[in-house]
Amino acid sequence: MNGETKNIIQENPFMPEPARIVRTYHLTDDVKFFQVRITDMDKALSFKYDTGQFAMISVLGAGEAPFSISSTPSRPGLLEFCIRKTGIVTDSIFRLKENSLIGLRGPYGKGFPTEKMEGKDIIIIMGGLGAAPLRSVLLYCLDNRNLFNRVILLHGAKRPSEMIFREEFFALKERDDLECYMSVDEDDTGQWPENVGVVTTLFPKVKDLDAENTVALVCGPPIMYKFVINELIKLDIPKDQILMTLERRMKCGVGKCGHCAIDYIYTCLDGPVFTYWDVLHMRELI
């Protein structure tokens, strides 16, 4: 009566793919930028993802955590992540130097419905680290500029030193096919050339918005959603055209471990992108 062990050949969705850190640098004191390439060249090039999706990154001996992809699928080959140092996994990722190996699996979740957004005005509102998932869709819109009507970016941070992708967005400001507004809550440098105030103070700068024809994308710290959504509702943007991406404890990414459950859905399968209507419908979302 001794159970014999079995040989398994089934596909394993929990198996990470080895990937190499190609480039890494600090975006702010506690946020670092990582450019990553899957070691197997064929797999690196065939890695298909949507804007707003996330991947699981693992560091041996520390564990695995979910991160939104900050690069755009319109530029295949390299994946980019903005990572804030907040826990055991991110601590170890921060210590890794260029050329180090990490584990990567994904992409997971439901991203932004870019096809449905075509022909519409796009307004992107990001606060703090909310720029991480929204940079993906912003760059996607800019790479496919002819598919979208107006593209508007409202970017908020606490202080100038905490604004991630500051230089990149200042450069984008020069483009005349992007309406780019930036704001800091507090200017401790005295040299900030842009708006001072919370991100909602940028709304008056956006003129003649065609609400029915606008899709709003929001991501930021939990406190930001309420105020930003209030503004968007005041502008009469339909509830199911307000899209936001939410954070939950996604531990497995494939709808099995349960940690990201909200009501009867899993954030890792049905999210992390939700509409404001979803939020009203599933009361636990915000």
Partner: protein, 353 residues
Amino acid sequence: MRIFKLKKEYLFPFLESISEGADLWAPTKKPEGKHSFQIIKDFSQIDLDYTRTILPPRKIFLPPSFNMFKATEKKYEADFSHVTEKIIFGLHPCDIHAILIMDQFYKHHYNDPYYIEARNNTLILGHSCWPDEHCLCKSAGTDIIEEGYDLFFSELEKEYLVWIGSSKGDDLIRRKPDFFDENITDKDIQKYIEWREEKDKAFSVSIDFKNMPDLMELKYQDPLWEKLGQACLACGSCSNVCPTCNCYNINDKPFLTENASHISRCWDACTLESYSEVAGGENFREARSLRLKLYYTHKLQAYISKYGKPACVGCGRCIETCPVDINIKTVAQSLDNETVDAFWDRFAKEVTK
């Protein structure tokens, strides 16, 4: 379906003949009187006179903790050492229903090879049962089982009616063709029907599962949840004993002697405080009431809307286990007809007695 008759004295010889090369799991009695599924070394350990085991049979497929990977920087090696040839004997209908729910869950969207492989290498041998005061299977519609087993043993006086549920099950009885009698008499059928009717009358409690999804919605903000949250000890026992709970956590532990890391998976419970906490300290369900609400949303609402049946199979384990009497019965009853004050009075009386 093919049905045979097996004399009771042939049961253990039959089990012995089929368990070559496999681990045979069956209910055994613990010294303190409770039952538990264990690997059987000696047939005298098997005790079929049981209502429910402490832990549900899912522990046999996915143990409370097991390795998923052994990993070095260069290579992740999947570890499937928990997958062995197994036979589980003595499962009651509610537990087999729970396995059917897990079969659906672990194949939904993404296949979970750790469950599916363990399941594919396990034979399910069910056994009939008799309800006690905690059994809710009749309410949950899980008191009868028509699929999900290889063999099912319905106990009559001196014999078993053996129902063949799969082609593998048919192979099993062919190992001892002399033991099995095809000739089922009208008297046998009569005995079986009488037993069914008697069992049907033996249930003392019932809850109305079909109203639960609506009630969960309508009473989302009900003060009942606050009260339950104040009473709950957040010990996670209800999840550990539930046959349909599937949450787990992943640990990555370095083993310096092996120069490798062991990535393991262990049971988790949504009622535990850190369950919904993310890096940086934000906890989406800091309040115990919110965690309880999630637990009961899963059991009473989510599955009904997704799969058309509740995720509760009425096994009664949570009723027997919860130290403060928060369980599927009390929660469903409170949602259904009890005012919060009545709940609180009863709670105070029952817990302090």
